[in-house]
Amino acid sequence: MSSRVLIVAEHEGAKLNPSTAKCVTCAQGIPGAQITIVVCAVDAAAVAAQAAQLSGVARVLCVENPANAHALAAVWAPQVLAIAAPFSHILGPSTTFGKDLMARIAGFLGAPQVSDIMAIESATRFRRPVYAGNALLTVESSGEGQLVGTVRTASFQAAAGGGAAPIEKAAVSVELPTHTRFVSVSAARSDRPDLQTARRVVSGGRALGSAEGFKILYRLADKLGAAVGASRAAVDAGYAPNEMQVGQTGKIIAPELYVAVGISGAIQHLTGIKDARTIVAINKDGEAPIFEVADIGLVGDLFQIIPEIERLL
């Protein structure tokens, strides 16, 4: 039995977001999957070319419209719906973009959605975390009708390149709503690696004490070529911006090396890092829960240890 899978590409203008390549790997777990990527954009050419190179992709569809300048769920959903009919599975990444869009699509279709797919057992059986990752739930759909899913990107490797899928333009003429308008986005410009895809991440908690205190982490991160993350407590305290938050309600990441500095390790934070290959914890409190998940623990004063590490690197 074959399944026709549609993946909605996430992109920033001309650059395909790495989460899309992870969705492709997830989709390949569906037996006999024929994978199509749809790119909604003003001009889809550059992103479509990147999507076409992903190994395992059979076809890339471009849906171009001047209204697609910003990824507004209300504007994109009807366009994805317009081409969705032949597909058994419609997937997107479990990023803020994908979570916003896919559930709107599911709503229009009246289809079930499996959120945060972490493993695929069959075309109808999926595993996903619930209760902040304190339980893993296997769900099964009837196999009748369509299924929408968001893909927990930390659970999948990115699909390799080297593919050459055909790129087609899809003629979509649906009326698009004007009730939702983009105003602005404020994103910190940073030369550091992207938190969601970085191989190394250095993260700070409330023990850093201030935004100023976070600077020692930035220095260490730069020396390691790492991205910088933060616990919810540090973000709530205003030491770090919200986009740096790692955890259940922030970013869920799977770096090779995760260094938690002054983070006690609330369960909501641990949910966001449990796929990290190696976790290092540096904390004054030897009883902190972070040490229960750390591969390497170091008890001590971070304000002495971090500069020392930096010096020794």
């Binding site: 769920a73 803020t96 009730h179 939702t180």
Partner: protein
């Protein structure tokens, strides 16, 4: 009347240590503290603040679920909601069913704004707001960290992966809340007494014409995989040596 409809869900309290039942049929909920989903509390707090600023006249709180959900509706009334609607439903209420029921309430109450939590901390689905907005064919602004109401529109700042995004949506609309939108108020004892006299209407899914349908079977719950016990090092030099031996530096 300018109304705000707030959807809430009864969930296992966020402080409870979750344990999976040995037979894998669910998590242990017997004798466990139940609460209003924290994101929904934020939704209610925001609705109350909008009303207190004079931009809405009535805050209605609604839930879809079993009879014991009325405890959480009473908590919401004690927080300051004007009245409560309980749509009785047994078993698993999927986001689509909850959204269909909420849509029926919207048709009856004609709210200016619907505010929900961005996700429930039990099933972590994060769908109901978006599904509802789709069924209603109205705007959605998810993961709100700031809401500014103007005549006929709302300006919503959203916590997105890139940073903060601001959208303008025409009203009525659905907004879902993120953590940093506000800090919900504490309920005081006199408010709990007062809440007992506030109206709480009970409806049923079938009376609303909504089919209780479960599209995803819950096959099995498993405990999460445990990480292997790690090692302790005593200083920075040992830490770096350990990382090097793992090939990480």
């Amino acid at each position: 009347m300018k109304r705000i409809l707030v959807g809430i869900k009864r969930v296992v309290d966020y402080n409870v240590r979750i344990r999976v039942k040995p037979d894998g049929s669910g998590v242990i909920t017997d004798g466990v503290k139940m609460s209003v989903n924290p994101f929904d509390e934020i939704a209610l707090e925001e609705a109350l603040r909008i009303k207190e600023r004079g931009l809405a006249e009535e805050v209605i709180v609604a839930t879809v679920g079993a009879a014991d959900c009325q405890q959480q509706l009473r908590t919401a009334l004690a927080m300051g909601a004007d009245r409560a609607l309980h749509v009785q439903a047994d078993g698993v209420v999927e986001p689509l069913v909850a959204a269909r029921a909420l849509l029926k309430l919207i048709e009856r109450e004609q709210p200016l704004l619907v505010i929900l939590g961005k996700q429930a901390i039990d099933d972590d689905n994060g769908q109901t707001g978006q599904v509802l907005a789709a069924l209603w064919n109205r705007p959605q602004a998810t993961y709100a960290s700031k809401i500014e109401l103007n005549a006929g529109t709302a300006r919503v700042t959203r916590e997105v992966d890139a940073g903060l995004e601001t959208l303008e949506v025409d009203l009525p609309a659905v907004i879902t809340t993120d953590l940093r939108l506000n800090e919900p108020r504490y309920v005081k004892l006199p408010d709990i007494m007062k809440a007992k006299k506030k109206p709480l209407d009970t409806l049923t899914l079938s009376a609303l014409g909504v089919e209780q349908r479960q599209q995803l079977k819950l096959v099995r719950f498993d405990p999460p995989l445990q990480r292997q016990k790690g090692i302790r090092v005593t200083d920075a030099a040992e830490l770096l040596a350990a990382l090097k031996s793992k090939g990480l530096l």
